[in-house]
Amino acid sequence: MQTVESVVVRFAGDSGDGVQVTGTQFTNTAALVGNDIATLPDYPAEIRAPAGTLFGVSGFQIQFGATDIRTPGDISDALVAFNPAALKVNLSRLRKGGLILVNVDAFSSRNLTKAGWEHNPLEDDTLAAWQVVKVNMTRLTREALKESPLKTKDKDRAKNLFALGMVYFLYDRPLEHTVNWLNSKFAKLPNVAEANIKALKTGYYYAETAEIFRATYQVPEAPIAAGRYRNVTGNLTTAMGLVSAAQNAGLDLFLGSYPITPASDVLHNLASMRAHGVRTLQAEDEIAAVCAAIGASYAGQLGVCSTSGPGLALKGEAIGLALMVELPMVVVDVQRGGPSTGLPTKTEQSDFNIALFGRNGDSPLPVIAAKSPADCFDAAYEAARITIKYRTPVILMTDGYLANGSEPWKIPNEADLAPIESDFRTDPEGFQPYMRDEATLARPWVKPGTPGLEHRVGGLEKQHLTGNVSYDPMNHHRMCELRRDKVDLVRQEMPPLEVIGEQSGDVLVIGWGSTYGAIRSGVDAALADGVKVGAVHLRWINPLPPDLGEIIARFDKVLVPEMNLGQLIKVIRGEFLVDAKGLNKVQGMPLNVGEVKQAILDLQYGEA
């Protein structure tokens, strides 16, 4: 058995092959044995794409390791391919020399044709550069389940567990967690539970007995901070972060949402949290969703709405209203590939522009971005804290990768969360609807139902203090400035930026959002190559942190990697008049560590 620091495994097959379940089980087991992990599910756009097609391939990639794991990995060490299409689609992302574990039974000529293989790659030298392990997974699973009363079709569905068993053996993992999970999941279908467990174990022992692998590997525990952990996706942590903030502020949470990939799980997760005082409205559209959230905030709850790009585009007018009436609201944008309907199931960072600028009139608002699945909790919590404190809507940016990707989350202590005051006005004495708190410029938040504070708000420009409709020119200018200044004041909430790597020197990498892991590892790699490189990762993308300019000044060059054609970079250039360069990838896929490293080297030494 070899000991290695980290491994990337990719499972791939048809939607019906149970790829996502297999990946999730492998992930949870890795987490439970103490590895650090990061995962990336990769769904097709179709619900149940026709079996065997290239576009129907479903994938799940996990990196697990004995060190700090920040991304699901650029390239995999092992590929479990349930059919020829899965092999075809994923081969280019498999390390030369890496392991291919295939289900030979699926390599029928029909499937080969569907996947566009002219010859069976298992039978010629197509795969010569890799270690290929061919297993008759379907046949062996049937064999193992001979005695089971299940129908053949159902038996065949257990082959993913057979495969998982083999992979558990390969990486020396315990079966226990998955066995327990199967027992509880199929508590009411003991035959199914039993068959699956049998398949899992048979796979494990088959791998052992048949000595199908040239080597096996051990990945030791990672030096992880002490505490209780849970494997989480970003859409789950986003929901929990929002609920936690509301509950800590003494508020119920109201979500107005309309389903859209990849944001729907925020709705699903929140809908399951009724006990925490969460009311959800699956609205008729995104406009109704945001408007209902505004209505709920107006009534004194924490109004939230969640969507993805096309939905955000529809909400612009209403977000402008929220900004004008200065009520709290969190707008969650789980970015996906654009423009238009684009690539709905893929990840991208191309909603930066619309988040910052997608409203008529002068209408700035705070925009915050999460950097990893677990970090969505903190970002969502902070978004809610700021919107409640400053009474202006806040946009929270995540993306498809954060939404569906997973990593271990250290469960916080309630006492460690920042306190939040909802601070409703109840005193009629001296009350004016648009009077302002000096420190935050926030106006009072008044619950309808409060005697003596009856007043009117709306989207027309309003007079300073009284809130009456006003067409006065100077008042309008002043109110526009006040709304801008309020957003700028959010700067006072920002801790000093952490500069990763060198504190001054050649290249500063400025990133935001889900590219964090890739940037961080890419910077490490470039540092190792001798470049004096530092990196800052922006939590707030509007307003920009107060110390960013000073940090930029400490470096010769600036690199801004983004999963878009260059959006944040334009703001950085305009704000700091620095000739920043972009690393831009718009491929519906996360940045790779190698790409970041290369871009740093290119910027420093000139392109090869």
Binding site: N28, A31, L32, G34, W181, I224, A225, G227, R228, Y229, R230, N231, V243, S244, Q247, F254, G256, M273, R274, A275, H276, G277, R279, L281, A283, E284, D285, I287, A288, A289, C291, A292, A293, I294, G295, A296, S297, Y298, A299, G300, Q301, G303, A318, L321, V325, I411, P412, E414, K447, P448, G449, P451, L453, E454, R456, V457, G458, G459, N468, V469
Partner: protein
Amino acid sequence: MNDIIQLTRKDLASDQEVRWCPGCGDYAILKGVQSALATLNVPRENMVVISGIGCAARFPYYMNTYGFHTIHGRSPAVATGTKMANPDLHVWIVGGDGDMMSIGGNHLIHVLRRNVDLTVLLFNNRIYGLTKGQFSPTSGVGKKTKSSPMGSIDPAFEPISLALGAGATFAARTVDLWGKHLQATIKAAHEHKGTSFIEILQNCIIFNDGAFDPAVGKKVKSDKTVELVHGEPLIFGAERDKGVRIRKDLTLEVVTLGENGVTEDDLVVHNAHAELPGLAQLLATMEYPDMPVPVGIFRQVSRPTYEVGMDAQVTQAQAAHGGDKPSLTSLWNQGDTWDVAP
């Protein structure tokens, strides 16, 4: 209910100068709404008036209650959020035919479908007032306006029929200048649990003056309108000698009592509480001027309300936790967790 809340119409008037055109029907409606609301035994601070954009939608500014002048067409959505967040509030939505039936049509039919407990006041003047007189979805074919100089080719919506088609549990029609009728309708709507929809025929003196006069004008109204009263036959006319009868093929006709042996027993008897909206639809789509314009309550049936349904789920979910929110720690610790030792 004890009349513990003593309000007068003036108590419900805000300090803002009313800015409608002199002679606009909205003035009468404002007065009527203020009068009606003063009698509801609802504390002023629990009243919320929510509107979209348009002349009608200026309404909240003139009400000394909580008020929200939102954006064009979206008041039903905002109001749904407000009512769900605080079911104790009494919510009125105000808007014009453009606001509610054009840009806001979808939110209107969805709030009616959901049956959120609030009242919709549609000020139907069959024109876009605030934007200076374009035709609206209730103007109808032939209407000449700035945006239809050769006459509109857009057939009109029948608002009550659309509302019923969307599942409205309460639908009624009244007229701006019919003070008592207006107030009575508003009170009935307020008592209804669920979304109540009131179409108020409103005169826009500037851009569509007299649009409803042929039917609801002082001199003609007895002959051109018929009051719908639950359990009563459809009788109308200055002499109360005309009635509405149904033919075998389920179409309606006007008959004269006493002529050709027609008696009250031959007439359609209104049933606002019928479980299914078929009869109400028949009445809503009677075509003026052959038939009189029905006013009053077309439909009023009892169905669960939306915000109550949602609250029940919260209550039920909390029942397991002594009726309270579980701790955040318990939320965070769901699913598989593992410990890493120091």
